[in-house]
């Protein structure tokens, strides 16, 4: 009797939930998404980042300025005009076109380099934290060692040894920047591997791979997410420095760093086009990425918000 009496009640309760327009999802990610949506700075900077992505895609697919490398020497150093908003450079190429194609280079460096460091950092950090013992010591030794070599020497040495070029910049930045992520992920895995839910998975006969990827990993991906954003920004900044110093991408690859290097000798003419274009493009991207990163970190860790 009692059981029968309660049944209609539960039906009514579930009906009440369905009557609401949408069920509230309460995962960390939905919470973060809701907080992000309310943050105007985050929304605007996300929009700006999207514009940059569109510009980069346009440049990469050849929709925007397909003839970026072509210029007539007769058009050398044309002043600012409607057809050349930043003027033309020493070879008569449109500076805006170079900056637009530089966006594609910069975003690809950010994406690939921090992608490489994400894969290495997540894998090594997870393995070290989960297995502990000798594996852990080996990974800690490896990242402490890499951390002991000043990156300002390690990265140029790497590109020097590998040779100039976009692919080598990806590799050099990727294999040197995973240390912080690995350290953080290792710490989280050390904490999580002794929690009850992992013990429960163990009792149910889950394999190590399943415990690492299916059970623990979802609890630490927010750290990887934030680190990916930070790595993205620093990879873009480092590529500009490397290319400026002449150990980055090839001279033929459009890059903000190479534009600033060109500008070094052009400021005395005075021709500011290269410098202005590269600086403005980079400023918008880095600023909106930094603001978005901050908002993301805040939304994933609400405790920070009161500070």
């Amino acid at each position: 009797m009692a059981a029968q009496a309660t049944q209609p009640q539960t039906f009514a309760a579930s009906g009440a939930v369905e009557n609401k327009s949408k069920p509230m999802r309460n995962s960390l990610w939905w919470d973060a998404y809701r907080r992000l949506k309310k943050n105007k700075v985050a929304v605007v900077s996300f929009f700006v980042i999207c514009v940059y992505v569109l510009i980069a895609l346009g440049a990469a697919t050849g929709l925007l300025y397909p003839n970026v490398a072509l210029g007539t020497p007769a058009d050398q150093y044309l002043p600012y005009s409607w057809s050349h908003p930043f003027g033309t450079d020493v070879l008569g190429r449109d500076v805006l076109a170079r900056a637009v194609h530089g966006t594609a280079t910069a975003l690809s460096v950010g994406l690939v380099a921090s992608g490489i460091s994400l894969v290495i950092g997540l894998t090594l950090g997870a393995i070290a934290g989960f297995y502990g013992g000798k594996v852990d010591s080996a990974v800690v030794w490896l990242y402490t060692t890499i951390d002991s070599i000043p990156y300002i020497l390690l990265i140029p040495s790497l590109t020097f040894v590998l040779g100039r070029g976009l692919i080598n910049v990806y590799i050099a930045l990727g294999v040197t920047s995973w240390v912080t992520l690995a350290r953080l992920i290792r710490g989280e895995f050390l904490k999580h591997k002794d929690r009850d839910y992992v013990a429960a998975a163990n009792v149910m006969g889950a394999s190590d791979a399943r415990k690492i990827f299916r059970h623990i990993m979802p609890n630490v991906t927010h750290i990887a997410f934030v680190q990916f954003g930070l790595g993205f920004v620093s990879a873009i900044k480092l590529e500009v420095i490397l290319s400026y110093l002449g150990v980055g991408v090839d001279v033929s690859t459009p890059s903000w760093g190479i534009m600033i290097d060109d500008a070094k000798l052009e400021l005395a003419r005075p021709f500011w086009g290269n410098l202005m274009a590269a600086t403005i493009f980079m400023f918008g991207l880095i600023l909106s990425f930094n603001l978005f990163n901050d908002a993301l970190r805040e939304s994933l860790d609400p405790k920070l918000k009161n500070k």
């Binding site: 002991s148 590998l162 600086t279 500070k307």
Partner: protein, 311 residues
């Protein structure tokens, strides 16, 4: 604590081994045949073989590694490929100019940034604080190479306040060339340093002891100077000590732009001229210096904050 310090010092040995292994892999295994690069494009096969034997690259890798470690232990990296000077002398000569460039803006930036961060944290949430944060983010969004290119143009080329570039070997006459690099390094450090110190101080501002101090009637200035700043000093000191090795590596960008004959300028010149022994020597020596300073900072940290233990 003594046990911790001993363990931390012993940990130097595997790291030192790691540095030699990684740089060995980098320079002796990944590097596409240094002998061909050294002998030049037009060398005959026999000439390349002679060079290879001279550089010891014809021996098996384990022997090469042992020779490499010997080089590091004796500070004898041979002679530069481009200037034929002894590499160890070149590096030793670079220390003076580099430290001249880096020390002054380093100290100035710590004092200025900690001060400003304290004020910003004290007035947190106000327009003043927000203005500082936004300015810092803005400064950080401009590539450091832009500062290096633009500030000399404005201050030296257009305003004529300083000589654009140059160097004087005598200590008394070199200062006129140093002011501009100092200004640039100082400006470059502002954004990240202020934001870092501000967040460190803010972390402390929400601790329980702050509430206790306020509750027992300490004024808010008193809390800031006597309680918060004292506790924030621990991460601040760590940060400062960790940055010290960068005083030696200097700024590759600045030294390259101004033609200052320091370590950074040396590295950059070596990269451009494929001067292999110099690149190798600076990388290894700087890594060891960096490691030593990390050690010092860890030991200092454990002295200042007894809660720290090596896990």
């Amino acid at each position: 604590m003594a046990a911790y310090i001993v363990r931390r010092i012993l940990y130097v040995i595997p790291i030192l081994f790691g540095i030699t292994v990684i740089t060995f892999i980098l320079f002796n295994m990944l590097m596409g045949d240094p002998a061909t690069r050294f002998a030049g494009k037009h060398a005959t096969k026999e000439q390349v073989e002679v060079v290879r034997a001279e550089l010891g690259l014809d021996k098996p890798l384990p022997i090469q590694y042992i020779n490499y470690v010997k080089q590091i232990a004796t500070f004898d990296y041979g002679r530069s490929w481009s200037t034929k000077q002894k590499v160890s002398t070149m590096v030793a000569d670079g220390f003076g100019p580099t430290l001249c460039v880096t020390v002054v803006p380093f100290v100035a930036s710590i004092i200025f940034c900690v001060g400003l961060a304290l004020i910003a944290a004290y007035y947190r949430g106000t327009i003043f604080d927000k203005g500082i944060v936004i300015t810092c983010l803005g400064l950080m969004s401009i590539s450091s190479v832009v500062y290096v290119v633009v500030l000399p143009n404005w201050l030296a080329f257009q305003a004529g306040l300083f000589p654009i570039s140059g160097w004087d070997p005598s200590w008394t006459d070199r200062w006129q060339y140093l002011i501009l690099p100092w200004i640039i390094l100082f400006v470059l450090s502002l954004g990240p340093t202020i934001l870092f110190y501000r967040s460190v101080i803010m972390d402390e501002a929400f601790q329980d002891y702050v509430r206790t101090a306020r509750a027992k009637g300490v004024s808010s200035q008193g809390v800031f100077l006597r309680h918060i700043l004292k506790n924030a000093m621990i991460p601040i000191i760590t940060m400062v000590v960790i940055e010290i090795p960068f005083l030696i590596t200097g700024s590759v960008l600045i030294e390259n732009f101004f033609g200052i004959p320091g370590i950074g300028g040396l590295v950059f010149k070596a990269l451009n001229e494929s001067d292999f022994p110099v690149i190798k020597a600076t990388t290894v020596m700087m890594s060891i210096a960096y490691m030593v300073f990390n050690l010092i900072s860890d030991v200092l940290y454990s002295v200042v904050d007894p809660r720290i233990k090596l896990s």
